[in-house]
Every structure is written in structure tokens, then in C-alpha cells.
């Protein structure tokens, strides 16, 4: 299945409580592409994802699959875009299976209940993410890596061609960060998903994304392939960090932190 669903954002602006959080942000991700939004703390990365979902009021236009999201009913939109927040709330007593089954919400009528197909999709998603054995375990008993996978399972159960992931590697150790991102990449390639993530880790962003958008103080100050965005000049200016960037073995940029005084 190749759903072919590009994402485009035009002139997006968000004002929260009188403060301009995002202004005139544009970005685009082709169908099946991985776009990472990077930027210093407070740049507006999470707000950008929420605005794309219509969770916060905004100006400008968000186009998914070529049509404005605004015009779609919530259930229709939820069949196109799945979202995993940075700090998902996981009710401690809810089981892994029931949580993943929530991903079927956009396919169930208001007063309806889950049908055979919803159970089938959820079962196969759990199978695919190696969660089948944890199906009846309460969410409160999962490790950090398992929690991330379970949230991903719920998003995948939505069968949406676009995945918005807010910091999918938060609070994971190095190995689990790699596992989760490899998993996202595998799913993306297999299903032709368009993936938009925020990532605060520039090394990971450089390694996994097809293209990057650098947000700083609510504006998109650079965008393009990792090589063009992860430059020493831009990182010094917007992160205030001393770094060295050099090409890795596969040509993707590697960002190194340099202690002040070393050069």
C-alpha cells in the first residue's frame, strides 16, 4: 500500500495568550518522506505539530494530500494524520491492547463500538511492533522503550498515511532511541508513510530525516536536506552551541559538541 500523501504548510502563524509563537512558517514533505523539525528549546516545534493537527488556533494553511485540513471533519482528518505527543498520557490500568485499539476511534461511529476489522488491524499492528505478548499488560507496567512502541502502535492503528511524532525519543537511552527511529523508518518505507517529527537531537535528525526545518524563535530560518541545515554557522547562531560538523561515512552530517576553549 502506497497512500502517497504529501504534507504542506503555508504561512502558518500561531499566537497564544497574546504572544506570537509561530510566524510565517512554511514547510513541505513529499509523500513517503521524513521531515524533521529541529530548533532550540522554546522555538515552537511542538506548537507547529499541534497547529498542523488543528489542536491550536492558527493562521495560514495546512494541506494534507493536497487539500486543506481545516475543511475536513475531525474523523476524516484523523484517518489522514496520526499524532503521538511528546508526553502521551497513558492511563496506568489500561491494557496495551485497549490503548492501541483507541487508534481505531476515527473509524467508529459516535455511539458505535469496535468491529472485527478494528480488532484485526489492532492485532496485526501489535504483532508487527513485537507487542503481541504484552497485549494484556497494563500501561503502568511498561518500560520507557515499550511505552514509545505502544504509542506508535496506537498511531499506526489509525492507518493514516501521515505520522506526526513529537520527540519520539524523549527519555530513551541511546539504544532505544536508535530502535524506535529504525522502527519508524522501516514502517515508513514499508507503508509509504509521510513522517514529520520534531527532534531535539541533531545527530539523530541528521541521520534519519530526508529534510530538515530549523525553527528559531517561531520562524523557519533554514530548510532543506540535512547537509544544508546542519552547518556550523547556523548551529552557532541559533543554538548558541560550539559544534563541529563533518560528513559521516554515508555523507550525512555528523554534529560534534566542542568544549569552549578547544579551538
Amino acid at each position: 500500500m502506497k497512500p502517497e500523501c504529501p504534507v504542506e504548510v503555508r504561512a502558518l502563524g500561531v499566537t497564544l495568550g497574546g504572544r506570537e509563537v509561530l510566524a510565517d512558517v512554511a514547510l513541505s514533505a513529499g509523500a513517503g518522506e521524513w521531515l524533521a523539525i529541529i530548533g532550540p528549546n522554546g522555538a515552537g516545534k511542538s506548537t507547529l505539530l499541534k497547529a498542523m493537527l488543528g489542536l491550536v488556533p492558527h493562521e495560514g494553511e495546512v494541506l494534507i494530500g493536497g487539500a486543506p485540513v481545516r475543511d475536513r471533519a475531525p474523523r476524516r482528518r484523523a484517518r489522514l494524520v496520526a499524532y503521538a505527543p511528546q508526553n502521551p498520557s497513558l492511563p496506568a490500568d489500561m491494557t496495551v491492547y485497549d490503548y492501541a485499539l483507541l487508534g481505531r476511534t476515527p473509524y467508529i461511529a459516535y455511539f458505535g463500538r469496535e468491529g472485527a476489522r478494528d480488532r484485526e488491524v489492532t492485532g496485526s499492528v501489535l504483532e508487527r511492533l513485537d507487542l503481541a505478548e504484552l497485549a494484556s499488560r497494563p500501561l503502568g507496567q511498561l518500560s520507557g522503550g515499550e511505552r514509545q512502541r505502544v504509542v506508535l502502535a496506537r498511531a499506526l492503528a489509525q492507518e493514516a498515511p501521515v505520522l506526526l511524532l513529537d520527540e519520539p525519543t524523549t527519555a530513551l537511552d541511546l539504544g532505544h532511541q536508535q530502535q524506535v527511529l529504525e522502527l519508524v523508518d522501516r514502517l515508513r518505507l514499508a507503508d509509504g508513510l509521510t513522517v514529520v517529527t520534531t527532534l531535539h537531537d541533531l545527530i539523530l535528525a541528521g541521520q534519519y530525516a530526508d529534510s530538515l526545518v530549523l525553527l528559531s524563535s517561531g520562524r523557519a530560518v533554514a530548510s532543506g536536506p540535512p547537509k544544508q541545515v546542519l552547518t556550523e554557522a547556523l548551529l552557532v547562531r541559533h543554538f548558541g552551541a560550539q559544534v563541529r560538523v563533518e560528513p559521516g561515512p554515508d555523507g550525512r552530517p555528523l554534529v560534534h559538541l566542542i568544549r569552549p576553549g578547544d579551538r
Binding site: 489542536l55 476524516r76 484517518r79 489500561m94 491492547y97 485497549d98 485499539l101 476511534t105
Partner: protein, 340 residues
């Protein structure tokens, strides 16, 4: 595979417990009518059955005009308070939310006190006033919560409920001090009473049916809301609207219960909690079982209230608090190990 649906066994267990407590409530009482006679008299009322119960007309009258409606009213009020508690807990994603959270109790307390003090407390006006006061209290809290915090966040709403409750309670205290000799009547209403008879059952029946049905229909949606508004919205649910509908239904259920029974504490918190501990987290389970469990609990509480000091009666709210609080602690302790 596990799933959140309501399984048959817990429902049957709950219904059996309810049936037993109703039977006990009808059979036992201060008047000392023979249980055998009561059973026969009840069967006699069934269509196509004709039995001689051996009860005198006075006993018959006492049974059908006082005891049976009292048992049914206790069950309906208990069911409404418990399901309203479960509904509020779902709406606010807070296990400590209770039916009186948003000022329903204080609103009803004020209007009933006003009826007693200014109008001599016409018995037919009291339920209407309580209903109006409960709805008014919730409405005030809601309006205040919405103007204070844009978007109606649940925290602002709860804070608004606290503010409205203190304000209305202050007013109520002021009004009651105007006529100190009516204090006892006011307090006996506040502490609860389910002896209102058939008239009050029919008075609240429509609201009870509608509000319970609306909440029961929202079981799955409350499960979706349990992951938070933003995520529920990203799943295609109009979260604020669903929340508002359940809030309305829970408030209507609370107002109906308050109208005919006064302010009975603890049912709305204890029952849903016990249900959750015994039968699972899903609102598809918690809502229906809370109704059945709340009905059984309040019926038994009323049985204690009218027999333990017979011929005198304890206010039912005293019994629910006296039994409910320790029972709650025991359940929490017993099931603690399962949690970890």
C-alpha cells in the same frame, strides 16, 4: 486478547446483589410485618396470581405506600449518585471527582433553605427547589469556569466549582440564621432522606432515565477521553463537546437525586471506585456497574438507617459516610497488592 467491553459475569453478580438487597429492604422493617406475608402480598400483585397474604389492610398500605416506594427510591437515588460520580470522574479525568463537585449540593442547599425559611417549607416545593438549585449551582460554576479560563479547561472548572460552593454555602448559612428554629428541618434535609414515596419516584423518573442512558452511551467515548483532550481530538473526537454532554447528563442525574433525597455523601465516590477495583478501568464497565452497585449500596444504607435505632431513624447520609469511609479504606488496602 483483552478488551474493554462489559463482561456478563460481573454484571450478573451486581444484579444479584441488587436483587438481594432490594428483597431484604422490602422484607425487613421497623413495623414487624411477617416476611412470609410480605412475600405473598408481593406475589399477589403479579398478573394472573392471586394469593392470600394474611396481611391486614393497614399492613398492606404500609407495605405498598411506604416501604416499597422507599426501597425503590433509595435504589434509584443510589444508582443516580454513583453513575453521576463515575461520569464526573471521566469528564474531569480525576478519580476524586464527585457528584457535588460543581456546586450542585450548595445550590440545592441554598434553594431548599430559602423555601423552608421564607415559604414555610411546602413539601411539594422542596424537590423542585432542590432540582433548580442543583442545576443553577452547576450552571454558575460552568459559566464562571468558562469566562475565567478560555476553552473551559477542567482545572478552571473545578476551581470555579469550589468558588461557587463556598459562595452559595455562605449565602445558605446567612439565610438559615434568619430563622434559627427551622435549623433542624434544614439539617435533616441536608443529611438525606429517601422516604418520599411514589410521587417523588415518578417526579424524577424521566430525568433519571435520560441522564443515565446518555452517560451509558458515552462509555467508550470517556475511555477515549482518558488519554486527554489533545490526543482524543487527534483521534477525531470532538472532545470538548463529548465532555460537555456527559457533564450535563451527570449534573442532571445529580440534580434529580438531590431533589428527592437531600445531600447524600460518599456514594458517588465510593461506588465507582469499588467497581473499578473489582471489575476494571473501562467506563463501559464502570458506568453500568456503578449504577447497579450504587442502587444496592444505598438500599442497604437505608435499611440500616431505618432499623438500627428503630422506631427512630438515622439520616441516611450519616450511614453512607459511617459505612462508606471505612469500607473505602478496606477496599483500597485489599486491592493494593494487585496494583504494583
Amino acid at each position: 486478547m483483552t478488551s474493554a467491553g462489559l463482561r456478563l459475569r460481573p454484571l450478573i453478580v451486581a444484579l444479584v446483589v441488587l436483587a438481594l438487597s432490594l428483597a431484604l429492604g422490602v422484607l425487613v422493617g421497623a413495623a414487624g410485618i411477617s416476611p412470609r406475608g410480605i412475600a405473598l402480598a408481593l406475589l399477589d400483585r403479579l398478573p394472573f396470581v392471586s394469593l392470600d397474604s394474611g396481611l391486614s389492610p393497614v399492613e398492606q398500605n404500609l407495605l405498598f405506600q411506604l416501604r416499597v416506594p422507599r426501597v425503590l427510591l433509595a435504589a434509584v437515588v443510589g444508582g443516580l449518585l454513583a453513575i453521576a460520580g463515575a461520569g464526573y470522574q471521566g469528564v474531569f479525568r480525576n478519580p476524586m471527582a464527585d457528584p457535588y463537585l460543581l456546586g450542585a449540593a450548595a445550590g440545592a442547599g441554598l434553594t431548599v433553605t430559602m423555601i423552608v425559611v421564607f415559604l414555610g417549607g411546602d413539601a411539594r416545593l422542596v424537590p423542585v427547589a432542590a432540582f433548580a438549585g442543583a442545576v443553577g449551582g452547576v450552571f454558575l460554576a460552568y459559566a464562571l469556569g468558562n469566562t475565567a479560563g478560555r476553552g473551559g479547561g477542567t482545572a478552571t472548572l473545578v476551581l470555579a466549582g469550589v468558588a461557587v460552593t463556598s459562595f452559595l454555602t455562605a449565602l445558605q448559612t446567612f439565610v438559615q440564621q434568619l430563622k434559627v428554629d427551622e435549623l433542624q428541618r434544614i439539617y435533616s434535609w441536608i443529611l438525606g432522606d429517601v422516604g418520599g414515596g411514589w410521587e417523588q419516584i415518578w417526579l424524577i423518573a424521566p430525568y433519571a432515565v435520560v441522564s443515565s442512558a446518555v452517560m451509558l452511551l458515552h462509555g467508550r467515548l470517556l475511555d477515549v477521553l482518558s488519554v486527554g483532550d489533545e490526543e482524543a481530538t487527534s483521534l477525531g473526537l470532538r472532545a470538548a463537546r463529548a465532555r460537555f454532554i456527559v457533564l450535563l447528563a451527570a449534573s442532571l442525574a445529580t440534580a434529580s437525586a438531590v431533589a428527592v433525597s437531600g445531600l447524600i455523601a460518599f456514594v458517588g465516590i465510593v461506588v465507582p471506585h469499588v467497581v473499578r477495583r473489582l471489575a476494571g478501568w473501562s467506563y463501559r464497565v464502570v458506568l453500568p456497574l456503578s449504577f447497579v452497585g450504587g442502587a444496592a449500596f444505598l438500599e442497604l444504607a437505608d435499611l440500616v438507617a431505618r432499623t438500627v435505632l428503630a422506631p427512630a431513624e438515622l439520616p441516611i447520609g450519616v450511614v453512607t459516610a459511617f459505612v462508606g469511609a471505612p469500607f473505602f479504606v478496606v477496599v483500597l488496602r485489599l486491592t493494593k497488592r494487585v496494583d504494583t
